[in-house]
Symmetry: C2
Subunit: 331 residues, 2 copies
Amino acid sequence: MIRRYVGIDVGGTKIAAGVVDPQGRVLSKAESATLPDRPFADVVRDMADCARRAMEMAECSEAQIGAIGIGIPGIAENGTGAVIFCTNLGWHNVPLRKELSQYINKPIYIDNDATVAGYAESVAGVSRGATSSVFLTLGTGVGGGIVINGKPWTGAHGVASELGHLTIVADGIPCTCGKSGCMERYCSATALIRMGRDAARQYPDSAITKMSEGDPEKITGKLVIDCAKEGDAAALGVFKEYARYLAIGINNIISFLDPEIVVLGGGISHAGSFLLEAVRGRIPDFLMFKAMPYCRIELAVLGNQAGLIGAAMVAKSIIEEGEAYASDQDR
Amino acid sequence: MIRRYVGIDVGGTKIAAGVVDPQGRVLSKAESATLPDRPFADVVRDMADCARRAMEMAECSEAQIGAIGIGIPGIAENGTGAVIFCTNLGWHNVPLRKELSQYINKPIYIDNDATVAGYAESVAGVSRGATSSVFLTLGTGVGGGIVINGKPWTGAHGVASELGHLTIVADGIPCTCGKSGCMERYCSATALIRMGRDAARQYPDSAITKMSEGDPEKITGKLVIDCAKEGDAAALGVFKEYARYLAIGINNIISFLDPEIVVLGGGISHAGSFLLEAVRGRIPDFLMFKAMPYCRIELAVLGNQAGLIGAAMVAKSIIEEGEAYASDQDR
C-alpha cells in the first residue's frame, strides 16, 4: 500500500486541504472559506471537513494516510501541537493538534506556511534535490523558509527563518512587527506599492499616475511592474530600487547561509523573468567575495499548491525520521 | 591507541600549532611568527615546523595523528585543499594542502578561523552540547562561525557565515569589503574606536579625551570601555550605541537561524559581563516574537586557543564522517 499524506494550508482567506503522494504530487484538493472571525473550533471543524472531502475525492482511506501536515501563517510548537501565535487568524496558544484529532486520528504536524512552501519547492519544485535552499515569499509581507541538509529548519525555539524581519536599514521605516528597517518594509508588495505611490506624487505625468487614474488606492504592485515593463521612467526607477533592496536582502542570505539556491515566490514573483533578471543583475554589486560562486536564484514553480504540498511533505519527513530512528534502535 | 589531532591556527601575526585530544584538550602548543610578507612556501614550512615541535612536546608519533586541521583568516576549498582567498596573508589560490603534505603525510582540512573557533566552543567550550550555535568574533573586524546539527556550516560554496558583512544599514558606512553598512562597521572594535573618537571630539571634557591625552590615536576599544565602566557619560553613550547595534545584529541571527546559543568572542568580549549585560538588555527591543524563548548569549571561554582546538576538531569531524560513511557502506 502506497502511503498518502494530507496537507492543510490555512490562510486568512481560505482553507485548502489535499491528498499528496510521497513524491509531492497533489491527488485531490478541497477548499473552504476560513472566516477567521469565528471561533477557533469552527475553523478546525472545516479543516477536518476539507481533509475528509479531499480523501474522498482521491478515494483514499484513513488507513492509507501516513500523517497530516498543517501550514499556518504563524508559529507552532510541535512538542505540544499548539499554535503559539497566528495573527491573521487571531489564534494565540490554541491546541490545534488536539482539536483536529477529534475528527481524524493520525499524527499531526504544524509548521509555518513559508517554511512548508519552501520545503515543497525542495521536494517537488524548483529546488528539488538541493541540500540547502532559502525560499522568500514576496507578498503583503516577506516570509522565509529554510531547508538545511534536505530538511526544513525552524530553529532551536521555532522562531527561525523570519527573513522578512531581518534589519537591513537600522532605524529605517517602522515595521508592523514593532521594529524598524525590516527587509519586509523594502522588499514586500506593500513596499513596492508605497514606492509606487511616492513616485506617482513626484511624477504626475508618469504612467503610474495615468494607469491609476490619479487614485493612489488603485496603485498595486502589479500596476507598478506593468508600467515598468512598458518602459515608464518613474516606474522603472521604483522597480530598480525595489530590486536593489531585494539584492541586498539576498546577499544577506548568501553571506549568512550560502545556500545552493534562493527561490522567489509570492505575488511579486509573478513578474517572472523581469524580476529575476533585475535581481540577478544586482547581486554582484553586494557580494562579499566577487570571484566566488554563489547560489542560483530562481522563481518558485508550485504556486499556491506549495502550502499544502509542503505541509504534507513536512509531515512525511517527520514520521519517516521517527521510523528511521526506531529501525536504527532495533538493529 | 588514542588518536590525536593537530590544529594549526595561521593569523597575520603568528602561527600556532598544537596537539589536541579527541575531547578538544590542548596537549602541547608551538608558535612562530607568520611574517606574511615572505613567500607562501616559507610560511608553510614554518607551519610544518610548529606542528612537528608540538608533536614532540606531546610525545606524539605521526602514527597517532588522525588528521591535521588548519584555520585561516579567509576562504578555502576542501575539495582541492586550496586557499582561495586570504587577504591578511596575501594568499590567493595557493595549494596549501599540497604544500604542507610535503612535510607531513596526513589528511589535511582547511577552514575559516571564525568557523573553527565557533566549532571549538561547541566541542569544548561554552556552547558544548548545543545542536546549533553562532559564534561572533568582535575584533578588528567581525567574523562569524555557524554550527548546525553539531557540525560547522560553511555553505554550499564555502562563503557562509560572513556575519560581519551582513548589511544592517543599507547605504550606511562604507566597508573595507567594498559594500556599505555591513555589521562589521558598527559592531567591531574598529567601530567602537571610531565612535569613541567622534565622542572625544564632541565632548572635549570627557574621560575619553583625558585618558587619551587628547590624541585620537590613543583611543582604543579598551579605553572606551574602561571609561564607560567608570561611568563617563560620553563613553557610556558610545558603549550603549555599540551594544544597540550588536543587539540588532544578534536579532538578525535569531530571526534567521534561531540557534540555541550565540557566543561572543574576540577583543571586545574581554569587556566581560559589562558587555554581556548591555547586549542582553537590548535584545528584547528588537525581538520579532516578544513572548517566545530565544538563544542564550554567552562569552567565549577558549580565548586564543579556540583557533587551534577548532581546526583540530574540524579535521576530526571530517575524517570521522568519512569513516562512518565507509562503515555504513560495509554493513
